[in-house]
Structure formats: C-alpha cells, structure tokens
C-alpha cells in the first residue's frame, strides 16, 4: 500500500486501455478492516461463472496503484447517455463510475480507491469501477459504524428551514423499489410557464409510528407494514437517484417531507414529496453475505434474481443470465448501469418472472418494469464493453414497449436476427439500422396476436398501482415461432447431429462394435436422408431467394445460404425482397447409416445462438447437406418497403397488351455437361404461344386504389360485370379462336395488394399476316443473365409477357411461326397466369370458380393439405364457354404415356407387397437395346421416388448410370439413365415426389430411359425420419449411390443413348481384370465448384482425368479414368499413413481429417487446378521427371509439392484393383484432350490406352474361387 503509486484519471483516459489495478499486488487482507476483507476482488474469485465465453480478463497493472478522488452525484457537468450514474473526479477530470459497498457518506468525501477496474468509453473518457475503497480522512473512519448520519437532499447552502410546517412528515421503513427518472411537466408557480421537472418515485414499506427518532432507526421493533410512496422531485433531488438506488432493500428514513394527494387513473393516492429541507438518514452498513451463485427470491410474479451476466445484446435491451434465462430491459426509460457487463454479478430486484413456452422451447424471461432496480454486486473481471444507453427512442422501441414480455422477447430476437441481414442496400449504417427497426416492427406487427399487446399506463400508474394495472397478467404460452438466421439454424442442426453421432459412437464403443466406425459410413454417406417438418422445428427463416452460381435456388441472408426446393414461386421475384419461410421440410442428406435408426434429439433451440451467432468451434466430422423443401404458399414476402413496388407493378398493366404463352418443356441446363457438345451457356424452354393476347384495361384510378388482402378478393368485391361472350364462340369452339373474350383479371402484387379489373382476350394481331390463327410452338432461349427466369418457370405454367413492338416475340420478326427460336431479353418481365371459369355467368349470386389446370400443378395435388391459395401473379376469370377452347391449350402435360395402372390381377396386392417383390428382385438390368438409337415413345408422369440404384450391368452403353425406381399408380417403374449434374436436383432421392418429363419408353413395360432432353422436377419431399428403412430388404435397395456431379463416362463409351453415336461399336467390349498400379502417368485435380456454400460437402474437388500405368499380369496398359474411380485408385479415401511422409504439417489428428482426400482438398482449393505429369520415357523411370502445374498465381509450396508427389508411391503401394476397361480410340483421346485442355501424350510409352469404367478392390480369394467356379463349370 505504501508503495502504491497514485494514478490520475487523466493517465488512465489517455492510455485508453482497459485495466484493473489494486493498492497491493499481494493478498494482505489482514491489514485491512474486517469489512473490507469480506469484499474480495472479483479477479481472484473462484468462478462460479461457468463461462464458455471466450472473454479476456482485464489486464492487471504491473505495479500497485491507487486513485484518489471524490465521488459525486450526477450533474450537468458531465453528459453521459446513461444520465444517472455516479461521477468520480480527481480534481482534474471527471468520469462516470460505479462503486461497491457504497455509503452515502462517501458522496463528496475524498476517497482512496484501493482496487478498481477502468474501462475506456467513447463519449466520456472512461468508466471506473470501484471495488475497494477507503476514506482518506482517517478521522472519519472512526465514526464509521456509529450508524446514522443525516444528509440533506439539498446542498446545505440553504439553511434548513425547519419552520416550514408543511414539510414536517417523515417516512421510515424498508426501501422496496425505486422508479426510473421521469419528467413531469408542471406549472411553475412563479412564472406560470410549464417546466419539465424530473423526478422519481420510491416505494417504502414504512412503520406507522409517528415519531421518528434518529437513534432508533436500526434494530428497533418497528413494523414496516404500511406502503408509502415518496416522490423525489426537482432537478437537484433527482441527482440522488443513483444513491437511492443503492439503498433498495435497506432501511432508510426520510424526513422533511410534505404530503400530496395525486390522482392516478381516477384513484387518489397519498404521496410524500421531498422539499428543500428533506433529509435522508441512511442505514448503517450491515454485513452482507457474499453470494456466488444464482439466488432467486420470488414473491408471486415478481421477485429478485441474482446471477451472472452471460451476454449483453441489442444495446443492453437483452441480457442473457443463466441458461435460458433472459433479462429484458426494453423500457427506454430504465436506467441501465454501465457496469452491467458480461461477467458481472447483478442483483435484479422486483423483476417479473415469466416462464414462457415457445414453440421451440421454454425460456424464463425476467421482465423489467418500472419497479425493477438492478445493482451490480460484483464487477466483471473480463474486458467486456460497458453498456451505454442510446437515448434515441424510435418506433420500434415504442412498439416493443407496448408488448407483453414474451412478445417483447420474441421481437428482440427478430430484431437481432435481422441485425445480420443485409436487407437494405443502403450505405449508411444508421439508416440501415432504422430500416431494420422498421422492418422488425412491421414483421412483428403481422405476427404477434392482439392479446399480446398490453396498454401502458405511464410511470405513476405502473409504479403505484403495480398489481392492478395489468403489469401482472402475462400470457405464458406463446406460439410464436423463432426467427433464426440461416447460419445459426444450420449450425444448430450440425451441433445436434454431432452430438447424436458422438452418442452413437459412445454406444458402439461400449458394445465393442466396430461396424459403426466413421469410415464405414463415409463411403456411401450421400445415401441417407432424414427430413424434419417445420412444425417440429418451430423456426421461421427469413431470407432472400437467389440462384447460386451452380444453378441452385437458395435462400440466403447475410450469414449463410441454404438450398431450396420449391413447388411454386411468384415469378415476380425481386432479389431485394425478403421472404418469410415458415412451412418447410428440412432435408438432411448424407447421414450415417447408424443415425437413421436413432430418434432425433429434440434439442430445444437456444436463443443464444440467435442473438450471438458466433459459430461454435465444433469439430465437423459430418458432411451433411442441408436443404429446405418448401411447402406450398409458405414463401411469404415480409412486409417491407415496397409500397412503391406494387404501384409500379400495376402501372405495368395499365392499358397494356400481353402475349400469353404456356411452357411445355424445360430442357435441362447443359452447363459443364455433355462433352460432345459445344459449350452452351444458354438454357432453353419449349413454349406454346397462344393465339390470343390479353388487353388489360386497368386505369389510373384502379391502380391508385387497389384492394388489400388476398382473402378480400372473393366474390364480394368482384365487380359482377357480366362477361360478354362472342356469339361466334359457340360455333367455333375448340376449333378456331374467337375474336374476343371478355374476362376478369385479378392482379396480385408482391404483397397482399390485389387489383381486380376487366380485361379482354383478343386475337393476336401480327404485323403482316393479320391474325394468328393457331397456337405456335417455339423454343425460348434464356441467356445466362435470364437464368433466374428459367428457374422460376414451371412446366405447364402459363405466363404473360408484355406485348410491344420490341418484345421478345415480336422484335425483328413479322410473325411467330412454329419451331422458331426466340431469344428471351433480360429486360422482359413475365407474370404467371392461371385461368378459372365461371360456371354460369347468368347467375348473379354464386360464382363457381375452379381452375381447370392450375399453373402450379402441385397446387391441385395438395388441395387437401393446404389451402388452395392461388399463387400466380394474375388470375383470369373466363366465361364457362371458353373452357372448351382453353382445354386444347391447357392439356395436362404430366400424363403423357403414363404407365398404366397395375393389372386387374394385381388389384388385391397392396402397393407395399408389390414394392417388396420388386425390391427383392435381382439387380436392375438395363433394357437391351438392339438398335443404334433407342426408340420409343416419350412419356411424362409423376411419381414417388422409391430408390435409386447403381446399375450393375455389363452393357457398355449405360454403365455408370442409375436406375430410379418410381412408384406410379401403385406400381414400380424403372427409369434408367445417367443422373448428371444438370438433372441431379436438390432434394432428389428416395422420398421425393418428382415429375419426369419426356423420358423415353423402351418398349418394355414400365421401363424408361432418361435422355438428354428429359427434365426432372421435384414437387415435394416426404417428411421422413428414416423409420421406413428398417427392413433390411429395403436397405439395400434404397441405397442411393453417391452421385458425383460431373462424373460421367465419356460419351463415346456410355452416354445417354440419344447422344451416343458410338454405342453401336461392337468392338468396344468391356473387359474386367485385376490390375496393379505401376505408376501414375497424369493427374488432373480441380475444384468442383466456385460456390462457397458448396464447399462444405465432401470431396470438394474432382479428378476430371487421371492416367495410370497398370499391369494386369499379362500386359501393361495406360488406363485413363476420372472422378470417384480415380479417387479409389489413388486411395484418397484412406487414412493418411503417418510414417510414409512427414505429414506433421498436414495432419491434425482430428477424426475425419485423416484422409488423403481431405489434405489434398486443401491444396486443390488454393490452386484451383493442378496438373501433375510424369515425363519419364520408361515405366520404371517415370517419376524421375515429374512436373506439377497449377492455375492459381500462388506458388506451390515445397510441402505441397512433396505431398502431391507422394500420391504416386501411395497409389503404387495400393492393392490389386479390378478394373473394367474398354479400349480407347484416337477420337476419344483427342476429345478428352480438348475437353481437359491437357496433352495426354498417350504414345510416349507405347502402351495400349484403355478407359477404366469401373474400379473396385479385388479380394483375391473371392476372385480365385469365382475363377475356379468358372473353370469347373466350363
């Protein structure tokens, strides 16, 4: 203590560093008074703060140091946003402070701060937390425990006017609660102007004894039973607020008060008001127990809570206490102390305990009201930021204040979720934050039911009539769904799966069962899928829809993105609009087999992950893909700032003419697809242009006054104009197009704005040839910029395109004729349209509306499940007569050559047994093709995918393809073909309901082939928890082989029949033999995708081409292969052997990171594409000259080079492989070279070039037995 230097505040502020200091660096508590020794420095306190937080401790000063200064009440000299906090001044500088073991006498006295924390703050230099202190004046110390002092609330400049008879009352009792400071406007008696007087209320349980004797304040036998309110009024007195706050729960006496009758909500209430002569008599400090854990003291609804702060969020509005205990400090008026920091122990008095069951879990909400006071019992030892009030009160905070506690909590979670939302393209952060507030408010308003709003009565009502003003009554169950950011959502499930996995591992190791080791399931972990419904999850996701670079539709927010599978979308998809996704299924693909049979732990979602989404450093051993399958109409737009949008939308319709066309087919994207075809970046759809145009008669007035709400657009508001039908229609029906059909048009805008207007369908006039007489089939080309449209368009859907001289259909042509190729222009807008027909227009009352063909076929399907809410942008109500005409245009596209229902004999067989018989049948065989090109009828139908098998067949032209078993009409249909990247859609696999368009019938019953023009649409996914997989017979069949995107067999060998011009090559026989790898000849490694969101999946790199020198015992070949086969030969899925290479820098001994592939991926990710060549001229000397070329501009590190070269001996030391090979001709080699842009240099070694179609490890014994068997049989 003697050695301690005296620090000035200036020094601390100038350093601007958070530090903690003490008078002594050694524990010498013995030299201190007993009262001091009981208050331990929190730094040395054994933590009951079970922190998983990674907080930094405050840096301690290296030398003992004290601060000398005075504590004062808040004054105008220092403007602090928190307004009512203590000040500390050393004569030079004044900063805010908080103090433990506060005594009233300390105010104004010179004290020596023995132990303290200093935290820099922006606005007033810093904040001092006084942990231990003593009076400088030792004389004062003697009188310390003498008990009572008297402190006039007014500075003693004014002599006490005892003569004032009015101010003769005194109140003595336990200080129960204190209100925040509020401002009352009142009339100043002298100037008759209204002045704003600050003041606060104090609730005292007082003793009724009239005489207050100074000596009997403590320990007397008073009965503190009478409730009394004291109003501290005026600027000077209000500055006592922080001091009085420290006295809550203690015995105080106030004298020199006057009585006032106030009227609160019609009731009169007696209140004591402070006067200029009021005096405060504080209690003597009694020894308090130090509490190191959460203490809850509850009386009824309110109580006190003592606990550590785990986190402070949203500018202090939300404070995390213990697990699932949250303190809400939403009222703007509340005083929040700077010292409420992460890690501090706080005591919250008079707080509402609201146990709330949300749909995602249960939370204890501590709701602060005007009676609540918070004192800090121990300061946080961590370097965490101070709480600073932002005084701005905006509409959101006012809105939140008007809610009940659970709703407030929910709204704050929404706000924090939107916090991470880059929703508004605005540069200014403040503006953005305001917009987010606005967005939160609008969204919350739409979600929170009315009973969760509660009127606020003002500070007097709520403080004085606390029990009766409704502050008490809370809704305890709350069906609001949690809004989460996508990254926290995915994170949650990753954590859950990891927990589940570790549980499984624990179980299996307990059973000493090795079959569940992670390497076992990794091999086919793309097979197993589990689906969870949104009802079970209880989470709403907000995000924007976009199409990733890989062509997948994704929901994304600022944090992350997730693949989305949706049956219907408004074509009006603005990339800036935020959608709310509430009805969905979460699909988890790639679960280990063992997990399918485990019930999912229903971990409640932790709100902490929402407000504080710092990713937990979990060991990600699982490579599960998450995607969402949206339910119909689940994608609602969040009411945003689009008031301009709908007006703009409607303006588009004003007096406009529109082309009508129907999509009849979508051709799959050819991106990175067919080797034989030129690179094609465009996508194509086939459409039928109807010989009609829609003339819309929306007027300016209509557009100005649209209707609101979808539900209001029912009959009542429809103008029941009788639609005129052309007389000629009856005669010409279905044969030719009538000249004009009147109809009624409902335009739905992005929000719920609707507009109903009259419109006319009239014969499309063309420039030259006059009227267009029949529908024309055209091919629409979408250049890459328009691929968003391509994604949104649905086969079978009808669309409107604005008709003008420069639209895609009219520009540069005199008329549309069949088979025209029309380029879609990026500026063109499309609206989806659906038709319905009035059954009888002559009826005035009831209008029977039903869609003939919904533009979204899935809607028709699901009518019984969800409300058949129309989802198209425009619906047209047509006279019933027109139905015949339209049925020609709108014929069902999903029922083309559909496999017929099972025969009559099978009628009794249930679908299940049928399924089983098929499942148990031997491996699917590919239909034999006896002609050069496959022949058959095209078919389109919808069915449920039951299983996807790898085809085990030696027929060359369809090897490495898959057989999709689809349940159609209760019978299994087999569809063969390669599932390539373009057709392998998100969510495809067993459990998906999909529509297959234009697949080729093979002539055999229920067997079809996917062609390069076939399109698969996924309509929905069944929610499954994997239970149906329990039958072992199914397990084998339901195993979906890993579909490696981009893995294909060169088209000369095995492409889809349609593009396979070489399939007739009889010489191209496939031969299987066991081979040993002699050397690696060429290796091309490249990253699979540039999309970062896909980087999580396994093997995020590809081997598009690899050449190996192999020996099958009789001769040596140069064997070329790609993809997974090359992975196998290189033994990339095997664990990295430690002894083979100095792999210390590569290997972290985490499970899942031990494979060679993992380490190779790190290298490939950096260098994008790596080509490694062995240039030796002899097989034995191949390694002497190895060149490694990378495409990135980064140099290949020495260790990376070594690692890549190590792959060669690693492959050579591999086992025998059974390779199914076929010979390669020069054409194919040339093609591969062109495609991969590498020189294969196939003639250098003078070996025969072969293509490896299949690679599998040889079990020599099995092979020998089978050879023997073959020989014995021959």
């Amino acid at each position: 203590m003697e050695n301690a230097t005296i620090l000035t505040i200036k020094e601390l502020v100038n350093k601007g560093r958070a530090v903690t200091g003490a008078s002594s660096l050694f524990s010498s508590a013995a030299s201190h008074s007993s009262s001091e020794s009981s208050s331990k420095n929190p730094n040395s306190r054994p933590g009951s703060f079970d922190s998983d937080l990674t907080c930094k401790f405050l840096a301690p000063l290296s030398h003992p140091a004290v601060i000398v200064g005075t504590i004062s009440l808040p004054s105008k000299t220092l403007i602090c946003p928190n307004r009512y906090c203590f000040r500390f001044s050393d004569g030079d500088l004044t900063i805010c402070c908080d103090i433990l073991r506060f005594e009233i006498r300390a105010i104004g006295s010179k004290i020596c701060v023995l132990s303290w924390n200093f935290l820099p703050m922006k606005h007033c230099g810093g904040f001092l937390e006084i942990i231990k202190w003593k009076f400088m004046d030792t004389g004062n110390l003697l009188s310390r425990c003498s008990g009572i002092g008297s402190f006039p609330l007014f500075p003693s400049l004014f002599p006490s006017r005892n003569g004032d008879r009015k101010s003769r009352y005194c109140v003595h009792g336990v200080l129960e609660s204190i209100s925040p400071v509020s401002v009352v406007s009142c009339m100043d008696g002298e100037s008759s102007d209204s002045v704003n007087l600050p003041g606060f209320l104090v609730h005292v349980m007082a003793c009724e004894c009239k005489a207050y004797s100074q000596n009997a304040a403590v320990g007397c036998s008073h009965a503190f039973e009478k409730s009394a309110f004291v109003y501290f009024c005026g600027l000077v007195v209000t500055s006592w607020h922080p001091a009085i706050r420290k006295l809550v729960g203690r015995n105080v006496a106030l004298s020199g008060l006057k009585k006032k009758m106030i009227y609160v909500r019609g009731d009169s209430l007696l209140v004591f008001v402070t006067t200029e002569s009021s005096v405060l008599h504080p209690p003597c400090i009694s020894k308090k127990q130090i509490v190191l854990k959460t203490v809850v003291d509850r009386r009824g609804n309110c109580g006190s809570y003592l606990g550590f702060v785990k986190g402070v969020y949203l500018k202090g509005k939300l404070v995390e206490m213990d697990e699932d205990v949250w303190l809400l400090l939403t009222d703007q008026i509340l005083n929040r102390s700077h010292s409420i920091r992460t890690g501090s122990l706080i005591c919250i008095r008079n707080v509402h305990f609201v146990n709330t069951k949300f749909s995602w879990g249960e939370v204890l909400i501590l709701g602060a009201c005007f009676k609540t006071s918070i004192t800090v019992e121990f300061f946080s030892p961590f370097e965490t930021s101070c709480l600073v009030d932002s005084c701005r009160q905006n509409s959101l905070s006012r809105f939140i204040e008007s809610l009940s506690f659970p709703a407030r909590f929910w709204a704050l979670l929404v706000r924090s979720c939107l916090q991470k939302f880059n929703g508004i393209p605005s540069e200014k952060e403040i503006l953005r934050s305001c917009q987010k507030d606005e967005l939160t408010k609008m969204y919350a308003e739409s979600q929170i039911p009315s009973f969760m709003f509660q009127p606020r009565g003002g500070i007097f009502t709520e403080f004085c009539m606390h029990e009766s003003c409704g502050c008490n009554s809370e809704a305890h169950d709350c069906n609001l769904k949690l809004v989460m950011s996508i990254s926290s959502f995915v994170q949650h499930y990753k954590v859950m799966l990891n927990e589940l996995l570790s549980q499984i591992n624990k179980n299996s190791s307990a059973n000493n069962c090795l079959s569940h080791s992670s390497s076992t399931w990794k091999r086919d972990n793309h097979t197993n899928t589990k689906t969870l419904g949104s009802d079970d999850i209880g989470v709403i996701l907000l995000g924007k829809l976009k199409i990733s670079s890989s062509g997948r539709l994704q929901l994304h927010d600022r944090t992350s993105s997730i693949d989305v599978l949706t049956p219907d979308l408004l074509s009006d998809r603005n990339a800036h609009r935020i959608f709310e996704v509430s009805d969905y299924n979460l699909i988890m693909e790639g679960l280990p087999e063992s997990m399918l049979h485990m019930p999912f732990l229903h971990n409640s979602l932790r709100c902490r992950n929402v407000v504080n989404p710092t990713p937990l450093a979990i060991e990600n051993t699982l490579t599960v893909r998450f995607s969402l399958s949206l339910g119909t109409g689940s994608c609602k737009q969040v009411y945003g700032h689009h008031s301009l949008d709908w007006r703009h939308d409607l303006n588009e319709f004003k007096g406009g003419r529109f082309h009508l066309f129907r999509l009849t087919h979508k051709f799959p994207m050819l991106k990175n697809g067919h080797p034989g075809m030129p690179d094609c970046t465009s996508v194509f759809v086939e459409a039928i242009v109807l010989p009609l145009e829609l003339i819309c008669s929306v007027t300016e007035e209509d557009a100005a006054a649209p209707y609101f709400g979808e539900h209001d657009t029912s009959q009542e508001i429809r103008p029941h104009k009788r639609c005129k039908t052309n007389n000629g229609l009856q005669r010409e029906r279905a044969l030719s197009v009538p000249h004009e059909i009147s109809c009624q048009m409902t335009i739905r805008c992005a929000s719920s704005h609707c507009l109903v207007s009259a419109a006319t369908l009239s014969n499309l006039k063309e420039k030259k040839s006059g009227n267009m007489l029949s529908a024309k089939r055209v091919l629409l080309e979408f250049i890459p910029e328009c691929s968003n449209y391509y994604q949104a368009l649905q086969i079978g859907g009808c669309y409107l395109m604005k008709h003008g001289t420069n639209d895609s259909f009219c520009a540069g042509r005199s008329g549309i004729s069949n088979n025209d190729k029309i380029s879609f222009r990026p500026e063109t807008r499309l609206w989806s349209v659906e038709f319905s027909f009035d059954e009888d227009l002559t009826h005035d009352g009831s209008v029977d509306v039903y869609p003939l063909v919904s533009s979204q076929p899935s809607l028709v399907e699901k009518q019984h499940v969800s409300s058949p809410q129309p989802c198209s942008d425009v619906s047209l109500l047509l006279p019933y007569d027109a139905k015949g005409l339209f049925s020609v245009f709108l014929k069902n596209l999903e029922e083309l050559n559909k496999p017929y229902a099972a025969g009559k004999n099978n009628n009794n067989t249930s679908c299940c047994t049928h399924l089983e018989t098929i499942m148990q049948a031997e491996p699917s065989l590919v239909p034999p093709s006896n002609s050069l090109f496959p022949e058959g009828n095209l078919a389109s139908f919808r069915g449920d995918v039951v299983a996807v098998d790898a085809v085990t067949s030696s027929v060359v032209d369809v090897s490495s393809s898959y057989c999709i078993n689809v349940l159609v009409n209760h019978q299994i249909v087999k569809i063969f073909g390669p599932l390539r990247r373009h057709s392998y859609l998100t969510g495809f696999g067993p459990g998906a309901s999909a529509t297959f368009y234009r697949i080729l019938g093979t002539g055999e019953e229920n067997r079809f082939v996917l062609t390069s023009a076939s399109f698969i649409k996924i309509n929905s996914r069944k929610a499954s928890d994997g239970r149906q997989l329990e039958k072992p017979a199914h397990q084998a069949a339901l195993c979906l082989p890993k579909v490696t995107p981009q893995e294909y067999v060169p088209c000369m060998l095995a492409g889809p029949p349609a593009c396979n011009s070489f399939s007739g090559n009889k010489d191209n026989q496939q031969i299987k033999s066991a081979c040993k790898v002699l050397s690696v000849y060429l290796l091309v490694l490249q990253t699979r995708s540039d999309d970062p969101s896909e980087n999580e999946c396994r093997n995020n790199f590809d081997i598009p081409l690899a050449g190996f020198v192999v020996d099958d015992g009789s001769s040596v070949y140069l064997c070329w292969t790609s993809g997974e086969r090359a992975f196998t030969i290189l033994r990339l899925h095997e664990a990295l052997p430690e002894e083979d290479i100095d792999v210390a820098q590569w290997t972290k001994r985490d499970s899942g990171r031990e494979t060679t592939a993992y380490h190779l991926e790190q290298i490939v990710r950096v260098h994008k594409r790596i080509v490694m060549k062995c240039n030796g001229s002899q097989i034995d000397t191949l390694f002497r000259d190895i060149t490694v070329a990378v495409t990135s501009d980064q140099l290949l590190a020495k260790s990376e080079d070594t690692f890549l070269k190590w792959l060669i001996p690693n492959a050579i030391s591999g086992p025998l492989w059974e390779v199914a090979r076929s010979s390669m001709d020069m054409k194919m080699i040339a093609h591969l070279e062109r495609e991969q842009c590498v020189e294969m240099d196939t003639s250098r070694l003078n070996l025969q070039n072969v293509w490896g179609n299949e690679v599998s490890q040889v079990d020599p014994l099995v092979r020998a037995w089978s050879l023997l068997q073959g020989l014995l049989n021959s």
Partner: protein, 127 residues
C-alpha cells in the same frame, strides 16, 4: 544329386502320399503344403501336417526360411524313402511360408491343374 536333370515339383496334397501312391517313390520331385507341427533345430527336420496326414521335411539345405510352428509352409524337393522303416522324408530344396492360403481352394486348384495337364498331354499325344 544323382539326377542331372531336375524335375519340376508336382504339387500334391499330403493325403495323396501313401505307400501305394504313384508319388510315393524315391527321388520324385514334389511340392507339398501343410502346417508346421514341429521343428527340430538340431536335425533341421520339420513335420508338416494337412488333412490328418503328416510328412517329415529335411530342411538342412534351406537358408532363409524361418520356421514357426503353426504356420503353413510349402516345400519343393525330392522324396526320400528310408529303407529301414519305409518312411518318407522330403529333402527340401526350397520352401516358403504360405500363411493365409485357402487349402480347400488349393486342393481344388491342384486337381484342376492336373486335369489340364492331362488334357494337354493327351492333345500333345494326338499331335
């Protein structure tokens, strides 16, 4: 050795080595396989067993084979019939450890090989 020309060791199973069998002759070259039952370092004589039959092997000419009782070994060498007790012993000229061999498969293979050689021999005769 007496024979200037060394014959290839005909693969046989130990069951085929009984006194009246065509292989049970002095100086016939054989390839035998069986599990090592015992081994004497002093005499360098081991005993292999297969299918209930056993055979003594004289390994004094072998250098680089380490013998472990319980492992399966294959020897090629010449049979020597001891006149005193009419017992056979194989004078091994080479031997190796063949642990992991599937004896059933091996027996079948031997049969098949013989069949093939017989056919081959027949066709050669026709020529």
């Amino acid at each position: 050795m007496a024979n200037s020309q060394m014959e290839p060791g005909a693969p046989i199973t130990l069951q085929e080595l009984y006194p009246s069998s065509p292989f049970y002759k002095e100086a016939v070259s054989l390839r035998v396989t069986g599990m090592l039952r015992g081994y004497s370092v002093e005499t360098a004589i081991g005993v292999i067993e297969d299918g209930g039959k056993s055979l003594r092997i004289n390994t004094q000419n072998l250098r680089d084979v380490s013998f472990r009782v319980g492992s399966i070994y294959q020897f090629i060498g010449e049979l020597h019939i001891e006149q005193s007790n009419n017992e056979a012993i194989l004078q091994a000229r080479t031997g190796r450890n063949v642990d992991g061999i599937d004896m059933n498969l091996y027996r079948k293979t031997v049969e098949l090989l013989r069949q093939f050689l017989k056919e081959e021999g027949n066709s050669n005769m026709v020529e």
